[in-house]
Point group: C2
């Protein structure tokens, strides 16, 4: 008897047909002798519909109102999924119609506030602070399947908050951790985590097991399968995740503590190749080399809510500095404006060189901590393919290179083959 | 300085344009020196969309799931209306952008559970049991406009409940009563309460003042302007209602205590003519005249959730009874089935005569309590027009006649003119 938290994303509850399927799956999992808790996202398309309404009223909606608005999408989904489970339970003869409709439900729809998912007050990207498991444990004890709205919580003043894009993953992991669940299954529209994006490389292969650390790097590098915060949280509680498809019954990818990867770990140096094709780069030249320059530039960008990714600073020459950094395409214009202001008011002599249409290609693997020469092998592979590297950044388990967007696919394929990712597992 | 509760129905918040208009209206009302509390319904069409989703999963949805699902419609509406008010307040220079977005909001969206609208657990037609006004009073004190989701509450086990069709009216009245508001304005897509349905009678005239009792009779007779429970509740607390259009600035109809109608009351015998064109009638003949017959028949109908309207029982002859009753067209087939079962199992000798395509035409007026001969005048007017009466039922301030559906419009016009409703006010 295991306690399993199953999270279903937007496409997995995207239609009445899919919702019926989720209900059958949950009842099948329960029939296998498990206690089941569901966490669901809004039906695909629903959140966009609500965002569209809000932005018609105000292009930059007030975030408290915005959160209340979009949290309604998950409410619709839990209502429908719970309805589908009760209906399916009735069809399977698990409960008598009269009894069920009176009080004896097989599932129970629950919103963030109803099970006390307490968050801070940072609307639209709130962080969970506590979950009260009293009610959940009581329902599980009674063999009721709680169907919980992901993505939402309440702040100390009882306002509705939401957890940011992909926040239902984090809801699921937090609930699983709070309940000390045995497993947390993340159902999505892909079969699992791949060695790279199959659209970029036909040799891409599903990874059967991956460490939290690798998953975090892959998630932050654009593999949209899991919200990165959910992986952090799972790592903190050593909660096993199972990323899998709700469209078939295949095993997906298990995200587990590094030590559980076992002896294989030594062989797998690079676990995956990630690519993000919407990068832009700014190079600031001829800035005076004085303390506080970087703080001033990146402080101004941060105040404008621009997320800077890679930052590289050259050795100063003749008392002059060169700083390069990248931002995502959506932030390009605002970043340009911020730099213009800085040039006008602080560094009139500064020269700004901009470059659009870039891509970031990265290799990720816990194994590279113990294997020297991975970086040079990456550079050599790219050079062999005639791909020019425009910036490099590294972490303990990741190396990223900025290349021309037009060469991204070629770079991914070259690295995937060069590190033999089609072979391992 | 008055405290005004303003309720906006589905068509009044049916588009982004209408929602902007509501925001302007609320701020104008506030600028006139009033404290404002809003109660809003779901955008028109939204509830039907959700019902359609639910019935695809189960034609008779479980009511707890159903309530959680459809309550999301009001959540969307309060999010958008509150957003529109804050945006409009910003446009009017009432709040600084930075301050407003940080914490200094002009409006606050609030759901049933957030202000403690406690109901019983009769899902889909829950009754309000208590409203906690602490939070509301605090917000009003701070000159914040609370934007409250109508139609919804929470039961003792913290499940979301809804108050039934038109329940937002009842929410508004209950909140106004709990706050001891000076006025409760019900904004809708018609100009007020009419002496009769203008589609049936071109002479129909807007009533400027009407008593709770008359309004209740008109509401129960098919004038869909107000949920009948909201009028009951307003009467209980002697809360003045003002039914008016959100599409123009005209005065609507004020629903007030009978004693406030003043001396005019004596002159107005009939306040309005109501018509309901979807009636069907069953006549049960040749039933044994034994105690408990009526209880058995109507008990069985009630168990099948069939609402019976008029009931007439003749004087028995030869130990045999005749009972006639009416049900709405939607219940016709289920009623027929119930009667077939009764005939098969209890009264094999019973003869059932059914008649479809009937209409109920009624006159309503508190004045008729003190004016004899109103009933005979009604029958004479109908007879003069050659309209045959199939059943009659009366209350202290109402007389209803069942006629052929094809003659409904003629009957309404004849009564409207005969009682000089185009003239009075």
């Amino acid at each position: 008897m295991a306690l399993i938290v199953q999270k279903f994303g937007g496409t997995s509850v995207g239609s009445v047909e899919r919702i019926r399927h989720v209900a059958q799956w949950a009842l099948d999992s329960q029939a296998n002798g498990n206690d089941i808790v569901l966490v669901v996202s809004a039906m695909s398309g629903e959140t966009n519909r609500l965002v569209e309404l809000a932005t018609q009223i105000n292009p930059i909606p007030y975030s408290r109102e915005f959160d209340m608005l979009i949290a309604s999408g998950e409410q619709v989904a839990v209502g429908l999924v719970s309805l589908a489970i009760n209906t399916e339970a009735e069809r399977r003869g698990l409960l008598s119609v009269a009894g069920a409709k009176a009080k004896n439900y097989w599932a129970r729809p629950l919103l963030g506030h109803q099970i006390g998912i307490k968050t801070d007050s940072i609307y639209s990207k709130a962080r969970i602070q506590a979950i009260d498991t009293t009610l959940l444990k009581r329902e599980i004890q009674k063999k009721v399947i709680p169907v919980i709205a992901g993505f939402q919580g309440v702040d100390p003043d009882n306002n509705i908050t939401t957890l940011g894009r992909g926040g239902s993953d984090t809801s699921a992991v937090a609930i699983a951790a709070a309940l000390s669940a045995d497993d947390c299954e993340i159902y999505t529209d892909v079969d699992g985590v791949y060695t790279t994006d199959p659209r970029l490389c036909p040799d891409a292969r599903k990874i059967s097991r991956i460490s939290y650390e690798e998953m975090m790097e892959l998630a932050s590098l654009g593999a949209k399968v899991l919200q990165i915060r959910s992986v952090e949280l799972a790592a903190k509680y050593k909660l096993p995740l199972h990323v899998r498809s709700s469209f078939n019954r295949m095993e997906g990818t298990r995200v587990v503590p590094q030590e559980l990867l076992g002896s294989k770990m030594e062989q797998v140096v690079v676990a995956g190749v990630a690519a993000d094709g919407s990068q832009t780069k700014f190079t600031l030249q001829n800035i005076p080399d004085r303390p506080g320059v970087a703080a001033r530039v990146f402080g101004a960008l941060s105040q404008a809510s621009i997320v800077v990714d890679i930052i590289v600073q050259d050795v100063p020459s003749n008392g002059r500095l060169t700083i390069s950094f990248t931002v995502g395409r959506p932030d390009f214009l605002s970043a340009k404006q911020v730099l213009r202001d800085i040039k006008d008011t602080i560094y009139p002599e500064m020269v700004v060189v901009e470059e659009k249409d870039l891509a970031k290609v990265s290799i990720v693997g816990v194994g590279m901590q113990h294997h020297p020469g991975v970086a040079s092998q990456m550079f050599a592979l790219l050079a062999k393919a005639g791909i020019n590297i425009k910036l490099i950044t590294t972490s303990e388990i990741k190396i990223s290179c900025l290349v021309d967007d037009s060469q991204m696919m070629q770079a991914v394929q070259q690295l995937h083959e060069g590190f033999e990712l089609h072979k391992t597992d």
